[in-house]
């Protein structure tokens, strides 16, 4: 199945294969009755801090990177679960899968799982590796049950962690919190403390690589730019696909608040393995509408299943 990763020309075939089950995924993952998938329209004012910058503080429902983990159900690859009956590539506009809701033949979990695995890899916005790594990426993806570095309660890393669920902002630094999750991958809670005081990066060679690297923020107009390097190579940079990276990966994230929405992109630059930088499809998170909302404790993570997997099937 993962061969589709490499052969874009076969997407059409994949689309045909997916004709039925695509939105079963949406139905199964979501109990939300959703008839449209347009990104949420911003509402309300964009608050500002006393120093004039947008105030990004708050609980954002950007939990996880499941297709429906954010309100517009869009994956970094550019796949939008548009409605319960349609999945679309947001770049080309092409509808890549449909599901006849009133089908009289019920689909089982087996089919839905396999379909979702396929659909997740069909977005057109994917990183372009140097040819000598194509086979590596394909093998990592095919053997993700064993190879995925984050699926046993390890950190997701940056930018795989996606949009933080909580942002705390002061004039001098930001706090990002990413609760541990058991969605597409099992990850532990992680946090980032991001200085905004104008400091420069530590020279890369002086940094011991870490999961979240050395992050430094600055404002470009009303957009917060978080510049991070100094990673270890123990993470993948997207939720699926086997997208490994080197210790020289450099990530630029952009956060832009408009009313109650927060738009996020991440650009991954890793000349060691990529032919060109890759920028995620913009994702939009909504501010939690409850002004008293707090981020609840996330459960401790203890992974017990991977040792019992009997096949290579995965997300």
């Amino acid at each position: 199945m993962m061969r589709f990763f490499r052969y874009r020309s076969m997407i059409a075939v994949a689309a045909a294969l997916c004709l039925l089950p695509a939105a079963v995924i949406a139905q199964q993952l979501s109990q939300v009755s959703r008839t449209t998938n347009t990104p949420p329209a911003p509402s309300g004012p964009t608050p500002r801090t006393p120093d004039g910058h947008p105030d990004l503080s708050g609980v954002w429902n950007g939990l996880g990177d499941n297709l429906i983990g954010v309100p517009n159900q869009m994956a970094n690859a550019g796949i939008a679960v548009e409605t319960e009956t349609s999945t679309r590539d947001v770049f080309s506009g092409a509808r890549i899968a449909t599901f006849p809701r009133n089908s009289t033949s019920p689909l089982n979990d087996e089919q839905a799982e396999r379909a979702s695995t396929l659909v997740r890899r069909m977005g057109s916005n994917r990183p372009i590796y140097k040819p000598q790594y194509w086979e590596t990426v394909r093998n990592l993806d095919q053997n993700a049950n064993e190879e995925d570095p984050s699926n046993n309660c390890m950190p997701a890393g940056v930018p795989r962690a996606g949009i933080p669920s909580f942002i705390g902002q002061t004039p001098k630094y930001l706090i990002f919190i990413y609760p541990g999750q058991g969605g597409l991958i099992a990850t532990q809670t992680s946090y980032r403390m991001i200085p905004l005081d104008g400091r420069q990066h530590t020279p890369l060679q002086e940094l011991d690589g870490t999961y979240t690297g050395e992050a430094i923020g600055h404002w470009e107009g009303d957009t917060l730019v978080v510049d991070t390097y100094g990673f270890n190579s123990s993470t993948w940079f997207d939720q699926v696909g086997g997208y490994f990276h080197s210790e020289n990966m450099h990530v630029i994230e952009r956060f832009h608040r408009n009313g109650n929405t927060l738009t996020w992109t991440a650009t991954v630059n890793d000349p060691d393995v990529l032919l060109e930088p890759w920028t995620t499809t913009p994702r939009v998170a909504l501010l939690n509408p409850n002004p008293k909302a707090v981020l609840p404790e996330s459960l401790p993570c203890s992974e017990r299943d991977l040792a019992h997997l009997a096949t290579k099937e995965h997300h």
Binding site: V24, I25, Q27, Q28, L29, S30, Q31, V59, N61, L63, G64, N66, I68, G69, P106, L107, N108, D109, E110, A112, E113, S116, T117, N145, N151, C153, S165, G180, Q181, G182, G183, L184, I185, A186, L286, N288, P289, N290, K292, A293, V294, L295, P296, E297, S298, L299, P300, C301, S302, E303, R304, D305, L306, H308, L309, A310, T311, E313, H314, H315
Partner: protein, 145 residues
């Protein structure tokens, strides 16, 4: 040793039904949201039912677990581990702290679920019958119902 790894992290009055929690629950609803492929570990076409007493309930990521003491045909007690849906799903299904219908060690229960593929004493829990007659359905069946 019998223990309950707390079901009390939900305190009355906590603002848990925030958008975040709601989203989490919705995102994680259903088998296809497992961090692993369900069918890689369990046979979605093979369900089984077993009765026993609750040994342990653990609320953890990526899956919570219900461990039962089950007597085999020779009367020997075997441990069976059942993988549960995500916390939000459990909560909406009526499983929370003990005084609101949760489980406690020693409770007699009958569970139905998907069988493991590797033959271990484990399963993917779909239905839980308590001795007081309540039935809690935690996951969709093989046909998505």
């Amino acid at each position: 040793m019998v223990e309950v790894t707390t079901m009390k992290y939900i305190k009355k009055g906590d603002i848990l039904v925030s958008g975040v929690v709601l989203t989490l629950g919705l995102v994680l609803a259903g088998p296809s949201s497992a961090h692993h492929s369900v069918q890689a570990q369990f046979d979605v076409r093979k369900t089984f039912t077993i009765s026993g007493t609750v040994s342990k309930v653990e609320w953890i990521n990526p899956h919570s677990y219900l461990t039962l003491n089950v007597k085999d045909t020779e009367g020997k007690v075997q441990k069976w581990a059942f993988e549960l849906a995500a916390p939000g799903v459990l909560r909406r299904a009526g499983m929370s702290r003990e005084d609101r219908g949760g489980l406690k060690p020693g409770d007699e229960v009958t569970v139905s679920g998907l069988a493991s593929k590797d033959g271990s004493n484990s399963g993917w829990l779909q239905e839980l019958k308590l001795s007081d007659g309540r039935v809690i359905k935690l996951a969709t069946g093989p046909n998505g119902n």
